[in-house]
């Protein structure tokens, strides 16, 4: 049933393309309907799967022959981790559409690219054949490019091209590793295979081989996850993207990279992962601190959020580097949590503030007294901000808590450094909150064109904000809802070699 999330999204694309050129309203409704349907299927399918079987084991959804000559199958399956991320995609998709309700320029094409991106993302999270995963992964690059290049703002073409090229380069690094692994696996198995389960459980790649293939594949995916120093596409891309674009980029697409790191790189090459553990953790911590530090000095509101995404993804990567259950658990939970929270942050900055004020410069925003003019936006950003700081009660706290726990067991000194990152996180969030909404600067002098009041926050925006806040709050208060899906996965065969010291 979960496979229908992919098909529904692409069917939505088809319907949208058939709509007449200027049918903006119809396009929005079709898109929203598709996203809601997709999310519904995701939730129902996920719960069904969780109840039926063992959510820790990989449950097959579809498996048919595709290209037997190279051992490729059309193999869709899910375990707890996939379910969590599929649900995230569903929620983020709906929220993104709600916040793009005001797109007027070529609306149906916008939503067509949007739904194509969503479909591709669903595909990545549900694929258990490496080639199929790669196909869906690359598939998402093109809609991303067009969403930003056509409907974005600051330096949109440059940002879009940078994002596309970085993603492409990353995925090609992965391709090199995959081809090499495929050849070696074929030699060991006697027949070609691209089945992830076979490649990770039946094949034992030689240690020396793993030591150079793992960084290749990991970095290839980590580029998209915003690992320092390959993160430079992220701030530019996020700022250039239209609101829904940034919400999806930071919320879901960056998670594609992290997911690839976990599902492909770490599971297939556990000895390599262990070998490079320290390097990954170090880069992750640098990312956490660097992202937070740079966010602290930005003048552009959206850049603050963009860099904060790099910082938060650093936590995900740190969690992955711990190679113990609790750290990995935290990493996956942080993927979910940050997806929701980053979506909310970009929604406030992009849709609620920028679309009305047409500026993101703090020097200008300070004078606009937005706390009074847009109280809902102020409140939404406050809640999103404290959630992003890691305040208990919201999903971020449980996730970061677990990552820190896991990290402390393995890298105590680096954990303390990430604590510094948390404090910086408080600082830049507070600074942004103050400067944008609650500044004490005198309001701008009234010239003629300042008199029009700002448009009030519309219904779809409120709905989207409430959806995301509720999601973060629910998981913050009842984290077991998701943790019951994630934790059993790490006890399964698939992760056994990774977690048991990479031994045979």
């Amino acid at each position: 049933m979960l496979a229908w999330t992919i098909y529904i999204s692409f069917l939505g694309v088809l319907v949208l393309m058939l709509l007449p050129r200027d049918a903006a309203r119809a396009a929005r409704i079709v898109a929203l309907f598709t996203a809601v349907l997709g999310c519904g299927v995701a939730l129902v399918g996920a719960m069904q799967l969780a109840q039926q079987g063992n959510v820790g084991e990989v449950t097959t959804i579809v498996k048919t022959d595709w290209i037997p000559a190279i051992g490729a199958h059309y193999y869709l399956a899910a375990d707890g981790i996939s379910l969590v991320l599929v649900v995230l995609t569903g929620l983020a998709a709906i929220a993104g559409i709600l916040f793009s309700w005001n797109v007027e320029k070529r609306t149906k094409e916008f939503f067509a690219f949007y739904l194509a991106l969503i479909g591709g993302v669903y595909g990545v999270f549900l694929s258990f054949d490496v080639l199929l995963l790669f196909v869906f992964y690359e598939l998402t690059i093109i809609p991303k490019y067009f969403l930003i290049a056509r409907w974005g703002s600051t330096r949109k073409e440059y940002g879009a091209m940078k994002l596309a090229l970085y993603s492409f380069v990353g995925s090609h690094l992965v391709l090199i590793g995959l081809i090499a692994a495929w050849v070696v696996a074929r030699g060991q198995l006697g027949h070609p295979s691209l089945n992830l389960l076979e490649l990770s459980q039946l094949v034992h790649f030689p240690a020396g081989f793993q030591c150079w293939v793992f960084p290749l594949v990991f970095i290839g995916f980590a580029i998209l996850a915003g690992m320092w120093p390959f993160h430079t596409w992220a701030p530019t891309g996020h700022v250039a993207a239209p609101t829904a674009g940034s919400m999806l980029l930071a919320g879901v697409v960056m998670k594609l990279g992290a997911y690839g790191c976990l599902r492909v790189a770490m599971v297939m090459f556990p000895e390599g992962a262990r070998h490079w553990q320290w390097a990954i953790a170090a880069l992750a911590v640098v990312g956490i601190i660097y992202g937070a530090g740079v966010a602290l000095v930005q003048r552009d509101f959206k850049f603050v959020i963009g860099y904060s995404s790099v910082s938060h993804m650093g936590f995900v990567l740190l969690g992955l580097a711990t190679l113990n259950t609790i750290g990995l658990d935290g990493a996956v939970l942080q993927m979910f949590s940050h997806g929701i929270i980053a979506g909310l942050l970009f929604a406030v900055v992009g849709r609620m503030v920028y679309d009305r004020t047409h500026t993101r410069d703090f020097n200008d925003l300070e004078k606009m007294n937005l706390g009074k003019l847009l109280p809902f936006a102020g409140m939404a950003f406050t809640i999103a901000g404290v959630a992003s700081m890691g305040l208990p009660g919201f999903s971020g706290f449980v996730a970061e808590f677990q990552v820190l726990m896991g990290a402390w067991q393995v890298f105590p000194k680096m954990t303390i450094l990430s604590g510094v990152g948390i404090i910086l996180g408080v600082a830049y969030t507070l600074r942004a909150l103050q400067k944008a909404f609650y500044s004490d600067a005198p309001p701008a002098a009234h010239d003629g064109h300042e008199d029009h009041p700002l448009e009030p926050i519309s219904g779809p925006e409120r709905a989207g904000a409430v959806l995301l806040i509720a999601a973060s709050l629910v998981i913050g208060l009842f984290p077991t809802l998701l943790m019951n899906w994630i934790e059993p996965c790490f006890r399964s065969q698939l992760f056994a070699r990774l977690l048991n010291g990479g031994a045979q």
Partner: protein
């Protein structure tokens, strides 16, 4: 399972949401509803008080519920005398704060909602017994406080609010890291780590905790480091000199209702933290650094009193005075820890000090909020002026006001017959036998406090009348009723402290036993 504690916390939370949703047009309704909700909180607290079995030192109204089993996070609520006292204090001060802000019209719905949410956070902190959700409420109290200062405060509110937030956050992060370390140390292959305050207290008492920490981290002094982290978290809140620099700015810039809450209740969070968490869980470490701690307490008492003496702004003076009064609590606590091992000292003396601490917490909360209430009333009449030199001879113009404020000042001074005396007396009674030198130096603080408070009375109320205020109106009937409960309690508790002592005695004894060998 009795759900009274959860209900108590949820009522102001829900009330805040309702009030916030009312919008900015219906201020009368807003105020009425928020008062209503805070009074429900008061009623609830009173009910708990009457149902509380003072004779038993055990936890009552316990609620326990597995929340995130793999992380050892339980939803564990419980109340002993200490918690009850604090809840009572919160329940009393909050309606007063709401009443003081009756005339505030600027975004009244958000203002009152924030106060209610702050109350919810405080109720939650004082009833939680598992670090995970205790920390949640601890942090949750910060946000409304920050916004209350930031949006409705005085001219320098921005930096004051930010400083307040950052200081407290840094302390909280240190606290979090310490508890992470504890969790890791108490984790076994099959069981998750421990966050339960009660269990950890048991481990602390037996010394098992220190051993486990050392085993987990391989560092002899790790127990001390973890202790410092937790200490920092609470030290910022109390505050202990030298972590107090956020306080004068925050207290003076905040609107008076908020200052009442800040000084009356939020500062007690720090002391509560010491009593509930630091003392029971780290008795060994505290004994190790006892002398420096005593010095810090003494410094807090003396230096803040001297600083208060040097102030010209009434609110700042009272702010430093708050620090001073809480210093006595710290002194007694540290002394009690120091003496806990000494089996020669009768238990009763050890208990005396801690009795004093609890009493002082409650009384100071009451008195200080009353004092700030008076300052608010004065400010309202003077159009915002609150300098020491702005007034003079007000006794002649506003005799009732002068009289009632005088009572509060004398209570703060520690005049026998009023509530402030009992607490301070018990503190010194407890400290003298245990750490005489500290008690001796702290009396300087008593002296200086008396000086500046009397100076306050002299400058503001006595002496020649400052012509400016010749037409100053006295307290209205409503205002008299507003201050009446506090005054009555000041007298009542001064004359008959058994009102409270009866309820908390058993708890104190249990506390002493927890920290003894």
């Amino acid at each position: 399972m009795n759900h009274s504690l959860t209900t108590l916390t949820l009522v102001p939370l829900f009330g805040g949401i309702v009030v916030a949703g009312l919008g900015s047009e219906r201020n009368k309704l807003v105020r009425g509803l928020s008062l209503f909700f805070s009074l429900i909180g008061l009623t609830g607290a009173l009910c708990l008080w009457t149902h509380f079995k003072g004779a038993s030192g055990d936890l009552q109204f316990v609620e326990k519920f597995d929340w995130v089993p793999t992380l050892g996070a339980q939803y564990y609520l419980g109340m002993d005398g200490l918690g009850l006292l604090m809840v009572m204090l919160t329940a009393i001060v909050t309606p007063l704060a709401i009443l003081v802000s009756w005339s505030m019209n600027d975004r009244a719905h958000i203002f009152n909602a924030l106060i209610l949410w702050l109350q919810a956070g405080l109720f939650g902190t004082f009833t939680a017994l598992n670090f995970f959700h205790w920390f949640m409420f601890w942090e949750l109290g910060l946000i409304p406080a920050f916004f209350l200062i930031k949006l409705w405060g005085g001219p320098k509110r921005g930096p004051a609010a930010t400083q307040f937030f950052i200081y407290t956050m840094v302390g909280s992060v240190a606290l979090l890291l310490s508890f992470l370390a504890i969790w890791l140390a108490t984790k076994t292959k099959t069981e998750p780590g421990c966050f339960d305050f009660i269990t950890l207290a048991g481990m602390g008492k037996s010394g098992v905790l220190t051993t486990k920490l050392q085993a987990a981290f391989g560092w002899k002094n790790i127990g001390l480091m973890v202790f410092f982290g937790a200490f920092l978290g609470f030290a910022v809140k109390v505050p202990v000199v030298p972590f107090h620099t956020w306080l004068p700015a925050a207290y003076s810039e905040a609107p008076s209702a908020v200052t009442m809450l800040l000084t009356g209740v939020m500062s007690k969070m720090g002391v509560y933290g010491f009593l509930r968490i630091l003392l029971p869980i780290f008795p060994d470490q505290m004994r190790q650094v006892l002398t420096p701690l005593l010095w810090l307490a003494v410094a807090t008492i003396v230096l803040s009193a001297c600083a208060a003496f040097a102030q010209r702004d009434l609110k700042r003076m009272l702010a430093y005075s708050s620090v001073n009064h809480l210093g006595y609590c710290l002194l007694a606590m540290f002394a009690a820890v120091g003496a806990a091992t000494n089996v020669n000292q009768p238990e009763i003396q050890k208990a005396a000090g801690l009795d004093g601490v609890l009493l002082q917490m409650f009384n100071h909360g009451l008195t200080a909020s009353a004092l700030f209430l008076f300052v608010a009333l004065l400010e309202k009449r003077s159009g915002g002026l609150r300098g020491l030199d702005d007034f003079g001879g007000l006794r002649k113009v506003v005799p009732v006001f002068a009289g009632l404020m005088g009572i509060a000042i004398f209570s703060s001074l520690g005049l026998p017959g009023l509530n402030g005396f009992v607490g301070e007396f018990l503190v010194f009674k407890g400290v003298f036998p245990l750490a005489p030198w500290a008690a001796a130096i702290s009396t300087i603080g008593l002296l200086v406090t008396a000086i500046f408070l009397l100076t306050l009375i002299q400058r503001v109320f006595c002496g020649p009348l400052n012509g400016r205020w010749a037409q100053l109106p006295d307290l209205t009937t409503a205002e008299r009723f507003l201050v009446l409960p506090s005054i009555v309690l000041m007298f009542a508790l001064g004359v008959w402290p058994q009102l409270i002592l009866g309820t908390i005695d058993a708890t104190v004894v249990a506390l002493v036993q927890k920290i003894s060998f």
